[in-house]
């Protein structure tokens, strides 16, 4: 304060140089803000259209909604939930995705613990096999899996798709958890064993509680993967009554291709949960992405 009073010029020069930096960086800000807006526009158009009535959506661009008379409605959501199986689809997606997330994580955690903290012949080779399976395209398994499930008479049931998603999710889950377990402090586990703790005790009381961040990343990743899946559901769950939202929307697209007010609200319903997860748990989400950059 005192300095500024004594040297008024300094403040001005400071301001001028700041302004200069600001102006020289203007193209950068302009570009970045433009890109960010551009990237959000398509999804924003979807949300807007889902809140307009059928006639308005069919006869005018969604961007015209932001001028008087500002008419928005929730009617499309009501209609699509009650009449287009989207309500049932939402429940089905949950029925598929929750076990499809919990089971593979639990199963993978055991294997990851063995890979990280036990010594046995062939350990590295087996882990390389897991890495290779990470990249095997799901298409390569669909025909035999469909035949197998049909032979077992469980094709088209929820347990069948739980089993399939468990298997497809395992390589990534083992990979991610093993890398996290290996980095846990060795002394901690050693002293637990010295105190006479069993493997089970160390695993459930020590390793899992310490690995909550990794488990959270993995859970988000696997949940979104199953929630957003179309192909596996199309092949394994051919019963419309059990269809998840992705399948329901795909059917809506082919039957109501031009009724945009319905399609947009259906699509937005399927996006709500992923978006909530994204905004609430962004840190874990990004962490999962960074760990598992290889998985498709």
């Amino acid at each position: 304060m005192k300095k500024e009073l004594m040297k008024p010029r300094a403040g001005f020069e400071d301001f001028a140089s700041r302004l200069k930096i600001l102006l020289s960086r203007f193209p950068l800000h302009f570009f970045l803000v433009g890109i960010a807006l551009l990237w959000m526009t398509p999804a924003f158009g979807l949300l807007t259209s889902s809140l307009r009535d059928a006639a308005a959506v069919a006869n005018s661009g969604w961007w015209t909604a932001f001028q008087p008379p500002f008419e928005f409605t929730l009617e499309n959501y009501q209609q699509v939930i009650t009449q287009s199986r989207m309500g049932a689809g939402f429940i089905n997606s949950l029925i598929i995705a929750i076990p499809g997330t919990v089971i593979p994580i639990l199963v993978a955690a055991f294997a990851a613990f063995a890979f990280a903290w036990m010594r046995f012949p062939g350990r590295d080779i087996l882990f390389i096999l897991v890495v290779a399976l990470l990249i095997v395209p799901v298409q390569m398994t669909l025909i035999p899996v469909l035949r197998l499930l049909t032979d077992l008479k469980i094709a088209g049931t929820f347990p069948a798709i739980w089993l399939a998603h468990t298997a497809y999710g395992l390589p990534f889950a083992i990979f991610l958890l093993r890398n996290f377990f290996v980095a846990l402090p060795r002394e901690l586990l050693e002293s637990a064993y010295l105190d006479g703790a069993s493997n089970m005790r160390v695993f459930f009381r020590l390793v899992l509680p310490l690995s909550v961040p990794a488990l959270a990343s993995l859970a988000i990743f696997q949940f979104l993967w199953v929630w957003n899946d179309l192909l596996v559901a199309l092949v394994i769950l051919q019963d419309p009554g059990k269809a998840p939202m992705t399948v329901t929307i795909t059917n809506l697209v082919s039957s109501y291709g031009a009724q945009w007010q319905l399609l947009t609200s259906a699509a937005f319903i399927s996006m709500i949960l992923p978006l909530v997860i994204f905004f609430a748990l962004q840190r874990y989400f990004v962490q999962g992405i960074l760990t598992g950059a290889v998985k498709g």
Partner: protein, 315 residues
């Protein structure tokens, strides 16, 4: 992801009780993977050499079909197109955005905006973009944003998802260079740029600022710093990102299926395989297509294994 084979704690087991115990811990996982991944891969390979219902051997007839039938050739070429344009453009844009967002204070917000499409399904993205690309004939109100912008600029409205002749020269590009394939690839880029940006941005933050400052003091221009320091140091990360995108480009199914169902020359191998399975019930041909995808991915598998192994040795 780094250093998975490092001789850390796992190297010397601290638990020596029982030789059988590790296998019991592995058993559930490997049972699942054997039944749903390993056995199916082998079986698909066998099925690809058999006839449509796997009742007799067909030799290499299914592969011959895939490489000579024009629809299958188009699908193969489309996958190649995806592979090149989707991968290169997504990595390029992701790199640009990573470098630029690194320089502003609202980095987190800008990145979140670009990253959001990663969270939603291909199906939702397909609905979003079918709507963006909606076409109305000339003289009608355009309700799709792309055509609204185009007509405001004085261009003719275009059915983007149908193959279009090039403007002015009235020439239909040969398959797979149809314009509609690029319209689909653009959607893929919209979805995956956020992924490339986030991973590359993390790699960028790992580059020491001292090196960059030293170069700046020595009078290097921003472009030189990018070209000579950032790009070489980032190349392992770029490789990881490109690997993931190549896998995506080859496995690509959902988005094409919902946007065009593979019509108008947009089929890719995965969509054609689905049609062979459920429309034509020819499991031999479908399996051959899966095997082709798998073979295309083999180099990626080897590269990935080698990358992880060498990381393990250097640490």
């Amino acid at each position: 992801m780094a250093g998975w084979l490092r001789s850390g704690p796992g190297g010397k087991s601290i638990n020596r009780r029982g030789r059988l115990i590790p296998w019991l811990w592995l058993l559930p996982s490997f049972l699942f993977m054997a039944v749903f991944l390993i056995y199916p891969v082998i079986d698909t390979l066998l099925i690809s050499f058999m006839n449509r219902d796997s009742s007799a051997c067909a030799g290499a007839a299914n592969y011959q079909y895939v490489f000579t039938n024009s629809a299958a050739q188009t699908a193969l070429l489309n996958n190649a197109l995806w592979l090149v344009f989707f991968t290169v453009l997504t990595v390029g844009l992701g790199l640009i955005f990573a470098v630029l967002t690194n320089r502003v204070r609202y980095e987190a917000v800008a990145k979140a905006a670009i990253f959001i499409p990663m969270a939603i399904s291909f199906v939702a993205a397909a609905v979003i973009w079918r709507f963006m690309y909606t076409f109305r004939p000339e003289g009608f109100t355009q309700i799709g944003l792309v055509n609204a912008v185009a007509t405001n600029l004085g261009l003719d409205p275009t059915a983007w998802l149908v193959q279009q002749p090039l403007p002015y020269i009235d020439l239909l590009l040969p398959a797979p260079l149809h314009t509609n394939n690029f319209a689909l690839i653009a959607v893929g880029i919209w979805m995956w740029t956020g992924f490339a940006m986030v991973v590359l941005s993390a790699g960028l933050k790992g580059i020491s600022t001292e090196v960059i400052e030293a170069a700046r003091v020595d009078g290097a221009s921003e472009w030189q710093i990018f070209r000579r320091i950032i790009l070489p140091m980032l190349s392992p990360t770029i490789a990881v990102v490109a690997t993931t995108l190549v896998i995506q480009a080859l496995k690509n199914f959902d988005m094409v299926w919902v946007m065009t169902a593979g019509n108008f020359g947009t089929d890719v191998v995965a969509t054609l395989m689905f049609k062979e399975m459920f429309n034509y019930h020819d499991f031999g041909r479908a399996a051959a297509m899966a095997v082709i995808l798998m073979v295309a991915l083999l180099p990626i598998i080897f590269i990935t294994i080698r990358r992880f192994r060498s990381q393990g040795e250097t640490r």
